[in-house]
Symmetry: C2
Subunit: 256 residues, 2 copies
């Protein structure tokens, strides 16, 4: 790299929240200024190339793309095992960042919401920082924080802990641990589940948590039919939630 060639930026581009559901209007969730910046990009690293092309077509309905879709460079993120970065060589990240190292802005896109938050991409962002590339997150929504806002639980202290264990005893232990952490720090604890297991998780929550613990469930936020409801566990037991097995849900608890 010579000093004469400025580096490109890694732009974190937010997606809609309708992955796996009926498409929602892209401008219900993504700001026009962000659509403009996305339309200008010629290089992308994405979670899934096919759905990234679908995203760009939706962008193009509002802002003309700077290049024809076939001429836009789209590379996929490597797929490590969940929560692990092992097995991905540094050279692979450098290859993905090549357009930015050569001076072109590069977009990072995941399947829903913000890249690198409860979604792949953080290892690429870390590699960008290591390479000295400017990293620029564009404004966008995350279902996690919408669920937190809608919960009415503590928004001054909260944690997202990902997925709970699937095995019953391990899940029970983990829930007791989260309830204790929540009580100790008065910290809202958020977690998610694969949609088809949402109902089973809700059943386990009602069986395991203390009656006075407040539990918030949000389903399909920003989508038609999306909802958010906060009750004590005792109240939920009297009227258990009916959860879609296709819509993403976010669970949040705050122990009293």
């Amino acid at each position: 790299m010579s000093d004469a060639q400025p580096l490109g930026r890694l732009l974190l581009v937010p997606n809609t929240l309708d992955h796996g559901s009926e498409p929602q209007p892209i401008d219900a969730v993504v700001a026009h200024g962000v659509l403009r910046q996305a339309a200008a990009l010629a290089h992308w690293v994405v979670e899934d190339a096919r759905s990234a092309r679908a995203f760009l077509k939706r962008v193009a309905d509002h802002v003309p793309l700077a290049l024809p879709l076939q001429q836009i460079g789209i590379s996929e993120l490597p797929r490590p095992r969940k929560g692990s970065r092992e097995g991905i060589a540094a050279a692979q990240w450098t290859a993905l960042l090549q357009p930015a190292l050569q001076g072109h802005d590069l977009g990072l896109l995941s399947e829903a919401g913000l890249p690198a938050v409860a979604d792949p991409g953080s290892a690429l962002v870390a590699a960008a920082h290591a390479a000295g590339l400017p990293v620029l997150p564009l404004a966008g929504a995350s279902a996690l924080l919408l669920a937190l806002a809608a919960s009415g639980l503590n928004g001054q202290s909260f944690a997202f802990v990902g997925y709970l264990p699937q095995e019953t005893e391990a899940r029970t232990r983990r829930l007791r641990e989260l309830e204790a952490l929540s009580r100790q720090w008065q910290q809202t604890q958020l977690f998610i589940e694969t949609p088809y297991r949402n109902g089973a998780l809700a059943t386990a929550l009602l069986a395991t948590l203390q009656p006075a613990t407040r539990l918030s469930i949000s389903s399909g936020l920003t989508l038609a039919g999306g909802w958010s409801r906060t009750l004590t566990v005792a109240q939920w037991r009297r009227a258990p939630p009916l959860l879609s097995d296709r819509l993403p849900a976010v669970f949040a608890l705050l122990a009293g």
Copy 2:
């Protein structure tokens, strides 16, 4: 309430992230669909009435308001001591929710980003749930999650812990505690500071944290001149950050 009268909804309306800075274009951060829903509301509960009117004027540049600004009902949230809900009577929340109880949609707006996340409003949302009102969060950005995405730190497990203590010894203890929690759970720990103390906090972080701990600093995200940078504490010590004392910053650490 008779069954004949449907309840209004509490809509959580996202704000821009330029509070206290040069105004940014509202459509750089807020989606057009959200501007449309905000423009349709006749009743609001807000953190600050004056800046809520300024927000509605910015909305009106894109979507005509359903009512003239003077006819829109705007009530302010009561101001409890930080982190406390004491002293606010239940009747006060009910009074604020009155328009929704009478069947009108009601908007909740804070000074920046999402209401009720690191911002007032969660007690009103809790009261809405208690009253059986539908709560609908509209898609919007939170500086906390943009900073997390831009950090390249763990986005599968993270916590936001609000403000650190100002007193030196208490702050040092708290930082060691956060570093230990981060190491134990591999959990990114996020926190904020009042802008004019950002520089002092950065100095304290570099003095206190372990050299190998990764520290991400984001300043003025989505604003002109905004940036985000992640280095180890040892690297930051060789090139300490220059932080604006007017722009909001978000700090995030991940201990190795």
